[in-house]
């Protein structure tokens, strides 16, 4: 499990890769910690680009739940995008679509989260 991140205006896009199973969940939690510190200090949104995640276990989902609670306690927003079919199924089975906003793509998420971040994304991908 690796986690890359990029900032687009007031949104940090974090992109984990691989399987977020029990051993990797702690690594994800540790990798997200400084991002959450930054966003909660400066009022931004977190978008998790899950396009390269092919499995997530209960422990991985717990990490996302903790991140969501932390963001919301600071009036921040958190969402997931580009869920792969298997991960989307797991979100449904775990009833996590009630916990995290899910969007079909990063761009679709940015349309909702932040016009400034969307403009930065379009400029970057143009």
């Amino acid at each position: 499990m690796d986690l890359s991140k990029s900032r687009l205006a007031d949104v940090i896009v974090a992109a984990p890769t691989g399987k977020i199973d029990h051993p990797n969940a702690q690594r994800l939690e540790e990798a997200l910690a400084p991002i959450l510190d930054e966003l909660t200090a400066n009022k931004g949104s977190l978008l998790l680009d899950c396009g390269h995640v092919d499995y997530i276990s209960s422990m991985g989902l717990r990490v996302l739940m903790i991140a969501a609670k932390r963001m919301r306690s600071h009036d921040g927003r958190i969402a997931v995008a580009a869920l792969q079919p298997a991960v989307e199924e797991i979100f449904e089975i775990a009833r996590f679509k009630h916990v995290l906003e899910a969007f079909p793509s990063v761009r679709a998420a940015l349309e909702v989260l932040s016009p400034a971040a969307l403009a930065a994304y379009d400029a970057m991908t143009r």
Binding site: S57, S58, L61, R62, I90, I93, A94, R95, V99
Partner: protein
């Protein structure tokens, strides 16, 4: 051990199928049969069987009571929810009141839904019957006596004429009871609960209800995995969705279907049986959760398949 038989599978509160619920099932069955003809009762039965449990029957609504048929002459039960009432009636019908029996009853804990059937357990009123109630709680006897004390119930515990003994068990000790090796494990639940491991004849059954498995503590998880190790059957509290279990219902003392799958996979168990159904769940909802749990088992599988079922009142699982 020969089989496990479920007399009560609902958690927290007994429920009953409503008139409108029955009506919906009849309408759905008739709709499905529209234009078809059935030449015999056998064909009709095959059609009804094909509808699935949610459409042709019900998961039931008795609170927890599970029988382990050991193959020996003595009865073994887990918990005394309302399911123990039909169990008692069945046992009496089989043996009659004049033939004393021995009942070994293992208690997960003494919350209401797990003890409320005992005042209606007819064999407890019959002299000559022997009832041994096992558990890890020091308040076991007090809880059962108190629920029959005025003004809660009209018949005091002292009116029970069977020979009733309370046996305190300690986690970490293996006991020989009713021809089985029995051990128990402390679980996360308000006021504590205990899970049981029963082993005999090369078969192992785990009864783990009213237990919040979080998997967040490595040592604790390892302990549960070893307790479940290579079990033939794990009867598992899967009351909530994972999202509920780790958010709005965190610390309520119950687990999810997803964690049940993961623990059983880690332990190399063969069969996970979803148990302690949320009382607000309809038959359709439980069937949906079962289908989703089977799918999650496929998605998370790394070695041998885990068989997944959902308990219903009257279900039998052959070991």
């Amino acid at each position: 051990m020969k089989c496990v038989r479920f007399w009560g599978t609902r958690g927290s509160l007994p429920v009953a199928l409503t008139a409108s619920g029955v009506r919906q099932k009849i309408i759905a069955a008739l709709h499905g049969a529209s234009g078809r003809s059935f030449a015999s009762d056998k064909e009709l039965s095959a059609y009804v069987d094909g509808l699935g449990l949610a459409a042709s029957g019900t998961y039931g609504g008795h609170s927890p009571c599970v029988e382990i048929e050991t193959g020996g002459p003595e009865y073994v039960l887990c918990d005394l929810g309302t399911g123990v009432r039909p169990f008692g009636q069945k046992a009496l019908a089989r043996h009659g009141a004049a033939a004393p029996q021995t009942y070994h009853i293992f208690m997960s804990h003494v919350h209401w839904d797990h003890i409320m059937g005992f005042p209606f357990f007819t064999p407890a009123y019959i002299p000559g019957n022997r009832i041994r109630i096992y558990g890890g709680h020091a308040v076991l006897e007090e809880a059962l006596r108190r629920q029959q004390a005025p003004p809660s119930f009209p018949v005091d515990f002292s009116a029970l004429r069977a020979n009733i003994e309370f046996v305190h068990l300690e986690p970490g000790t293996q006991y020989e009871i009713a021809g089985m090796q029995v051990s128990l494990m402390l679980q996360r639940h308000g006021g504590d609960s205990y899970g049981y491991r029963f082993a005999a004849d090369g078969k192992t059954v785990i009864y783990t209800t009213d237990s919040e498995h979080t998997l967040t503590d490595v040592a604790e998880t390892t302990g549960y995995v070893e307790f479940f190790r290579d079990a033939d059957l794990v009867v598992f509290d899967a009351m909530y969705s994972l999202a509920d279990a780790i958010s709005v219902k965190a610390d309520w003392g119950h687990s999810s279907n997803i964690v049940g799958v993961e623990l059983c996979q880690m332990a190399g168990a063969r069969h996970l049986c979803l148990f302690h159904h949320e009382p607000t769940q309809s038959d359709e909802t439980i069937s949906r959760v079962l289908a989703e749990t089977r799918r999650y088992e496929e998605l998370s599988r790394t070695s041998k398949p885990l068989h997944v079922t959902a308990a219903y009142d009257g279900m039998e699982i052959q070991l």
